[in-house]
Symmetry: C2
Subunit: 281 residues, 2 copies
């Protein structure tokens, strides 16, 4: 099992200026960096690949779905932009020898409305068709796409693992997996271990976050129940800490971070990975 | 200890047309109704008082703080309207022989922004001054005011019990108590039992909600830990189930309810109060 850190812990938007993070992330005890991609133009891809290799780090790509990147939007330009963004993420994964692009691919973060059944069905149809199209691009590139349920305040579309599974069955393309994030699951699932078992072999990615997005192990997430469920389903994919730097306006707004969640972001990551590694290995 | 049900479980906005709920709530096993007040003009107060008495139900008042009822707003008209709303809630409590008005009195639900330290200090000063003024009105009426922390997606101001306590100490008026809601605390507190113990004798109101706002007892809230902490601090105030009817546009938006959270709202309330009563008595 690979332990990872998401770049949102320290920076937003991630770019070449932040590559100095990589040796620090390695030294803290991580095997993998999850690169949150907000703006491709900020990232020197060949240099990133070299820096990852130099530091012996694997990489996964985490999509950042703002309002203009929404494959289920009413607006064809926004749908098309959302599709292009996912395809570009797949391209970046390929260029970095990564096999995973994950996140709330189905909609824009923060899109929460009570809509009519007709509107819901229309958005769902766009979503399914676009996921099929990018699914083909991903499987041609050897990349898995993860569908991450978000909590009710961040999306009205996929809040539960069972909803992610239903979407994947509807899309019916083998490149899709479920991506569980414990921060969201803590709000939405009646039992996180049960949700892991329901995902079973479809589980492809895991965000290990404390209930308050602070240091894993300091809150009330049922980590031993989660460990037992992951063992039951023989999960051996990535195990990534995601939190968010306080003070970066865009990401604070998107993730609702109004206070520091640990004495420092380095401490959150270092103590978090120590706790998770002891738990799982 | 009195077990209560919030009217938001079934209806929004609550009014005279909903008074038929009261005998049903009593028959389900509740001692108390928490009236969520969105629009005073919809409520026939003398008839409500008589219906409560006829059914042997106590009553508490739950404030609904939309964007125009915000005592920490930049806009003096909105601050004044927020203060008038709290004073009117205190008046309603008096007219119904209730001794409790509770909720996120300090701000508007859904007001989440990353603001400057200066702006934060300004809003805080307005809030404290207005809480002092309505605190005097409340204590003259024999009414306690509860300060409810909300989760990060509903407010940027008071997310933690310790933040509510700090605000109460700053206001420095004996009418204020802390109001813990387990749905919010599940997201924000590292340990809900610890938060209860920190509140101690300042705890004045309690919303007992499952982590997904479904039927209490069906999710992963640590109910036995909560019971033990409530016993430790000798809490004997109200214990109220709050959830929200799916399908009412305004409240679905405010509370982010996109799916039914139980087979029916009656089942949520009836099975919830059965579970909580067995837990606590």
């Amino acid at each position: 099992m690979q332990f990872g850190a998401n770049t949102f812990i320290w920076t937003s938007p991630f770019g070449t200026k932040d590559f100095g993070l990589l040796p620090r992330i390695k030294a803290m005890g991580f095997d993998l960096v999850e690169v949150a991609v907000e703006d491709f133009s900020l990232i020197d891809v060949p240099l990133l690949r070299k820096t990852l290799e130099d530091n012996g780090l694997s990489v996964a790509i985490c999509g950042a779905f703002g309002p203009t990147r929404d494959i289920s939007s009413d607006d064809p330009a926004i749908r098309s932009n959302g599709k292009k963004y996912i395809v570009d993420c797949i391209g970046l994964a390929g260029a970095l020898d990564s096999t995973l692009v994950s996140g709330p691919l189905y909609s824009a973060v923060g899109k929460t409305r009570l809509v009519s059944a007709d509107q819901k069905a229309r958005e769902r149809a766009w979503c399914v068709q676009n996921l099929r199209e990018v699914g083909r691009v991903a499987s041609d590139a050897g990349v898995t796409l993860g569908i991450e349920p978000l909590n009710r305040f961040e999306t009205d579309m996929i809040n539960l693992v069972e909803q992610a599974i239903a979407l994947i069955h509807e899309v019916d393309h083998p490149t899709y997996k479920v991506h569980i994030d414990t921060f969201h699951a803590n709000i939405e699932e009646k039992s996180i271990p049960d949700a892991i078992r329901v995902a079973g072999s479809l589980l492809g990615h895991f965000h290990a976050c404390e209930n308050d997005r602070g240091t894993p192990g300091t809150g009330h997430i049922d980590w031993t129940g989660i460990r037992d469920a992951l063992r039951d389903i023989h999960y051996d994919g990535p195990f990534v800490i995601e939190s968010f730097t306080p003070g970066a306006v865009e990401i604070a707004k998107a993730a609702a971070i109004w206070r520091p969640l640990a004495p420092s972001q380095d401490e959150l990551a270092r103590e978090g990975v120590g706790f998770l590694r002891a738990l799982l290995t």
